[in-house]
């Protein structure tokens, strides 16, 4: 097992050394239950922060951002943990484990969240804030798209390199 500092930290946070995990089916069922709870938390935090932005407007901005940031940190930690142990949640190519419908709903929610964010920041009123936002938002989107494209390319290259490896190779 890859024992990085992150993995040691994750083991402490997740209490992974607990005797609870010794019983294998108990561990499996708890993992499934955690997946349900985690997904629900992600969906609710995204929907909640979006709703609060559209209903509450500007006053709800800090709370919505905190809610979105907390769920983003949880997602990043989950994906990083899985990747360090050789599990890729979304693989380019043949194995697509996330359904299109799920991605479409999430995408629509993110767009609504973004719309609420723009609306709330716009209502702050000052020209400098609006000006900065008008520059920062598209810039951030471009950086995000470039990051995603580079990430997918790197993953594809890694997959090709792994496919070209010897049968006895093990992932590092």
């Amino acid at each position: 097992m890859v024992q990085t500092r992150f993995m040691r930290w994750a083991a402490v946070v997740g209490d992974l050394g607990s005797p609870f995990y010794l019983e294998e089916r108990q561990r499996d069922v708890w993992n499934e239950a955690s997946a349900v709870g985690f997904q629900l938390m992600i969906w609710l935090s995204l929907a909640g922060s979006t709703l609060s932005l559209w209903i509450g407007g500007r006053p709800a901005l800090p709370y919505a951002l905190v809610m979105a940031a907390v769920s983003a940190v949880g997602s990043v930690v989950t994906i990083r943990y899985a990747r360090l142990l050789g599990v890729e949640p979304v693989q380019p190519g043949a194995h697509r484990w996330v359904s299109f419908r799920r991605v479409a709903v999430a995408g629509a929610l993110y767009l609504l969240f973004l719309g609420g964010l723009v609306r709330a920041v716009w209502s702050l009123g000052t020209d400098s804030v609006r000006h900065g936002f008008l520059i920062g938002l598209p810039l951030g989107l471009v950086v995000m798209v470039v990051g995603v494209v580079l990430g997918v390319r790197a993953r594809r290259a890694a997959d090709r390199a792994a496919d070209a490896g010897q049968p006895g190779d093990v992932p590092s």
Partner: protein, 79 residues
């Protein structure tokens, strides 16, 4: 949507346990798991790890292949 980890795998654990006149609780204790785990294995709701499968087979005096071989796999296992 059906849970991917529970695909209704068939096995002979229940029959082998009854032949040896063991209760689910006794088999669970002998293999170091909970009774619910034995219930789930017998119902085909849970595929045990290779270590648990070996342990169950040892307690029941059978081979793993004879207990857990899927339909159509018997010939493959024997080869």
């Amino acid at each position: 949507m059906v849970r991917t980890s529970a695909k209704g795998r068939q096995n002979r654990v229940r029959i082998a346990r009854l032949v040896r006149d063991l209760t689910q609780a006794q088999l669970a204790e002998a293999t170091g798991v909970s009774r619910q785990t034995i219930v789930a294995i017998e119902a085909g709701d849970y595929a045990p790890s290779v270590y648990l499968a070996l342990s169950v087979a040892a307690v029941l005096g059978e081979s793993v292949e004879s207990l857990f071989a899927a339909d159509g796999m018997e010939s493959v296992v024997k080869e």
